[in-house]
């Protein structure tokens, strides 16, 4: 039980975001979270969305997930418009959102229980396969509160991978973890992505993290949320977040991010 997972993957995805705008009405003001954002994501691509808080990168992720609807514009997966959440696009949140009333295996099996075609034995097998993938096969009977922050996110990753989605949407999944745990997970996510061939959209405000993981880094600016600049990262994999070449790339992107920030401030001042 190691090479292939029991559920088959279906046709290749391609995500297209076309001219998407989204505003939120808060009590004091209106937030222009996304302003005419367009983005294409290739099959198997790892795209990192980076920007200051409030730039709409999480909003875009939620729209792609189908959890939010755009005011204008449309998002398609494989040419079909996204109308709601679906297990072809699984989400990993900043907090693990694991269910305390289920044990680790039960959490990973949650989405599989919604697939009527599988038998219970198959569900258990699929769940165990993915727990092994994240290195937690020995912890399947643990309760959620007994896990460390890093282990929780690993379980959340296994849970997201279990229904074999072709797109993985990750919303700052490592932001609450300590640096050491995070570095381990950078290695794991690159390995799993290579093994399981997922298309990944990864939201972060950490430029170094984005350069370490992404094939492409998309820079957002806030108020209104727009895409400012995009960078292809051609570094060989697996990447080490502490390498010099990676540091050079992230310095370049950080500089770009800062210049966008200051031009934004200038725009506001005008």
């Amino acid at each position: 039980m190691n090479a292939t997972p029991p559920t088959p993957a279906s046709a290749p995805p391609k995500l297209t975001v076309e001219n998407v705008s989204k505003r939120f009405q808060t009590e004091r003001s209106q937030v222009h979270a996304l302003d005419r954002v367009s983005l294409d994501v290739r099959e198997g691509e790892f795209v990192c969305l980076v920007g200051p808080s409030g730039c709409g990168k999480s909003t875009l992720l939620n729209i792609i997930a189908g959890l939010d609807q755009p005011d204008i514009g449309r998002v398609t997966a494989d040419g079909k418009p996204i109308s709601g959440p679906g297990s072809d696009r699984m989400v990993m949140f900043q907090e693990s959102a694991l269910y305390p009333w289920l044990d680790v295996l039960g959490n990973v099996m949650f989405s599989l229980k919604l697939k009527p075609a599988l038998t219970n034995a198959e569900r258990r097998e699929v769940a165990r396969f993915h727990l092994k993938l994240v290195g937690l096969e020995k912890f399947e009977a643990m309760h959620v509160h007994e896990l460390s922050g890093g282990m929780k996110q690993r379980v959340a990753l296994a849970r997201a991978l279990a229904p074999n989605p072709r797109v993985l949407l990750m919303d700052e999944p490592f932001a609450a973890l300590d640096a050491l745990t995070r570095e381990q997970l950078y290695g794991d996510i690159q390995r799993i992505r290579a093994e399981r061939r997922k298309t990944i959209i990864f939201v972060t405000h950490n430029v170094r993290e984005a350069v370490c993981l992404g094939d492409r880094v998309v820079l957002f600016s806030a108020n209104p949320g727009r895409i400012r600049e995009q960078f292809e990262i051609g570094l060989p994999r697996p990447r080490d977040i502490n390498s010099v070449a990676l540091a050079e790339h992230s310095t370049k992107i950080t500089r770009a991010l800062k210049s966008h920030l200051s031009s934004e401030l200038a725009e506001v001042a005008e």
């Binding site: 709601g84 959102a97 229904p163």
Partner: protein, 254 residues
């Protein structure tokens, strides 16, 4: 082990002191029955079967009324949490009626149902229903939105989300509401039994009432001890296992 021994010894010593205080007439035995008198009362009512039958009558009323309160309160609480309209109408009513000690329903219940078991049943239901309803409502409202969103991305919808995510997530609230509902039901029933006599069944409250009428303080204290015992026992049997399970799963302190 050592701690329960300490507890046991303390109570034994207190009982002995109590017995001696009454024995030497420092406490009047008319006002305070001696522990041995109470023990003798227990012996008598156990032998003639009246204690067992009264306990049976009371427990039957309690269980019937309480489970009816649960069966009504849980779904109604889900409804108030789900629909704004129900929350603004039934929810407000529940909040108001929860503050009403349910024995206050006794005059109306007597008028509507007469001196029947239905009157008792009604009072017990009124005692437990509202706190179960409100706790369920609060539990559902406190379910993190993230749980629901995560479930939706995994393909869960509608009833599945309600039964597999929202309901289990609100269990800690619901169980404490059930416990509160139980306590209220128990108190309402005792008050109602003291207040209302129903000829088809004499419960513990009735016995307590007659103890007072006959000035038999040994009976009064004896019944009070039985009532405390039933309260403790149900807590241990009904709720403790449930609560232990929740603590283990959620990792909350004991």
């Amino acid at each position: 082990m050592k701690r329960s021994l300490t507890t046991l010894l303390t109570f034994l010593v207190l009982l002995v002191i109590w017995q001696e205080l009454v024995h030497y007439g420092i406490w009047s035995h008319v006002l305070v029955p001696a522990p041995l008198d109470v023990a003798k009362y227990f012996w008598d009512v156990l032998r003639d079967g009246s204690l067992l039958s009264a306990t049976g009558v009371t427990l039957k009323r309690l269980l019937l009324g309480y489970f009816a309160g649960l069966v009504l309160g849980l779904p109604l609480g889900l409804l108030t949490a789900r629909f704004k309209f129900v929350h603004d109408t039934l929810g407000v009513l529940a909040l108001g009626l929860q503050t009403l000690p349910s024995v206050c329903w006794a005059p109306l219940a007597l008028l509507w149902f007469g001196q029947t078991e239905s009157a008792m049943f009604f009072i017990v239901v009124m005692g437990s229903l509202w706190s179960v309803l409100l706790a369920t409502d609060a539990g559902v409202r406190n379910v993190p939105l993230l749980y629901v969103r995560a479930a939706q991305t995994m393909g869960s919808r509608g009833f599945h989300t309600w039964f597999k995510v929202i309901l289990p997530a609100s269990l800690p609230f619901v169980v404490s509401g059930m416990k509160q509902g139980w306590a209220f039901a128990w108190r309402s029933l005792m008050a109602a039994e003291i207040y209302i006599t129903i000829l088809t069944g004499f419960g513990l409250g009735n016995l307590l009432h007659y103890g007072r009428e006959l000035n038999a303080m040994d009976a009064v204290v004896g019944i009070m001890i039985v009532i405390v015992g039933i309260g403790l026992l149900t807590d241990k049997i009904l709720f403790s296992p449930f609560e232990r399970m929740l603590h283990r799963r959620w990792g909350t302190a004991k």
